[in-house]
């Protein structure tokens, strides 16, 4: 059973078949096997949120999930969300508000923020903070990130920021 396992899943709309060792986590599978390096690996124990991706529509820590557990799953990474245009406005707001500096946390931040904006039309700053509380940013001090998410929520409701 230490041998590689066959998995079949969908990643960003494409079917993927792969052989993976049991110990391989989803973050490393995405980065090293599929070369989707937008998913970042920070703490590797579920604290920093840099590796956040969507699995079957829910955001998860990809460092805390085995690739073997994703058999039959539908995965969306920052590349998928970005290429589809789903978060183009959120990305633009991050740029406009200087909500990133080094950019390491940004993919996870965007995936988590979009998750909130899908659940709630116009979240207030407290809700945004709460929803992003599992994503660390060591550059911005968070204010600008909250600004960008708040702006996007308002803009999607047809209000000007």
């Amino acid at each position: 059973m230490t041998a590689a396992l066959s998995i079949s899943l969908h990643v960003n709309g494409e079917r993927v078949e792969a052989q993976v060792l049991p110990r391989l986590n989803l973050a490393d599978f995405l980065r090293e096997h599929l070369k989707l390096t937008g998913t970042h690996v920070g703490c590797e124990h579920g604290v920093c949120g840099a590796c956040t991706v969507r699995v079957n529509g829910d955001i998860v820590r990809s460092c805390l999930m085995l690739a073997a557990q994703t058999h039959g799953a539908t995965i969306e990474t920052i590349e998928g969300l970005s290429d589809s245009g789903e978060i183009a406005d959120l990305q633009a707001a991050f740029r406009d508000r200087n909500a990133l500096q080094c950019g390491f946390c940004t993919p996870g931040m965007l995936v988590a923020a979009q998750d909130l904006l899908k659940q709630e039309a116009e979240p207030n700053r407290e809700r945004i903070r709460e929803h992003l509380s599992g994503n660390y940013c060591r550059c911005t001090g968070y204010q600008a990130i909250i600004d960008a998410v708040e702006d996007t929520g308002r803009a999607r409701m047809g209000r000007t920021p």
């Binding site: 059973m1 110990r23 820590r61």
Partner: protein, 293 residues
Amino acid sequence: MKASAFSYARATSVMNAIELLAAHGDRAKVLSGGQSLMPAMNLRLISPELIVDIGDIAELRGIAVTGDTCRIGALTRHVDLLNLPEIAAHVPLLTEAISHVAHPAIRNRGTIGGSLAHADPAAELPACMVALDATIIVKGPTGERRVPAQDFFTGIYETVLSADELLIAVEIPAPPKNAAHFFREFARRHGDYGIVGLAAQAVVEGDVLTGLRLAFFAVSDRPVLAKTATKLLNVAVTPAVLAEASKALGEELDPQEDQQASTAMRRHLAKVLLARCVAALLARPELGAGEAL
């Protein structure tokens, strides 16, 4: 870091999982949501030889409300506890407590069975089970057994589960008439493990408490069902009564010291929670103002 190498088996049923566990003993670990197991493996605090993934076992899913109990399958995720109307209606303490557990991405994977079997003394769900007088249902090679929550936890990360047993569900009695609950924790940041926390279930008749289960967490090696609660039952709670209960609580608890808090700080915070709990349950804010400490 990366987890060290291990074998992986995807269990197809509860019996299949138990067979795998029986065959491999404590060299095997059960993988449920993985939100505590995976960090421990990535940090190489543990290196199991075999991971038994129970994620596909349909019989461990689902919530059933029958008569006077609510049965919650082991694979029920934290996000489900947060959002399901059955939980809000029958076990509102859980709905409230779960928002303090970690962060959305963790709650989307973490499961109730995993949290209880992991038995972190600072975790919210074990204390909730004790407060709610839940029964934990465990299955092994020789059948099922039912363990009261207050007997289930035996130490830091330790429970009565043996290596060949699987936690399959919890059963929570329906709240009695006039039930009220309270949940609060002190943590450095929202979503962190609590420094001290309290989950309580009560029966309030008029302005008197006729039932009270106080489960403190992060004050011992397991959740503590405070005996002090009896001092507050069937009496008109005055500041003097509360002060006496608070003193008794301080004597009853012997919290550990760690990098988060000293013993004295934990004892003090537990007393603060007791006062706030009683004030909230009786809707008498003046009792929580602090004189009782």
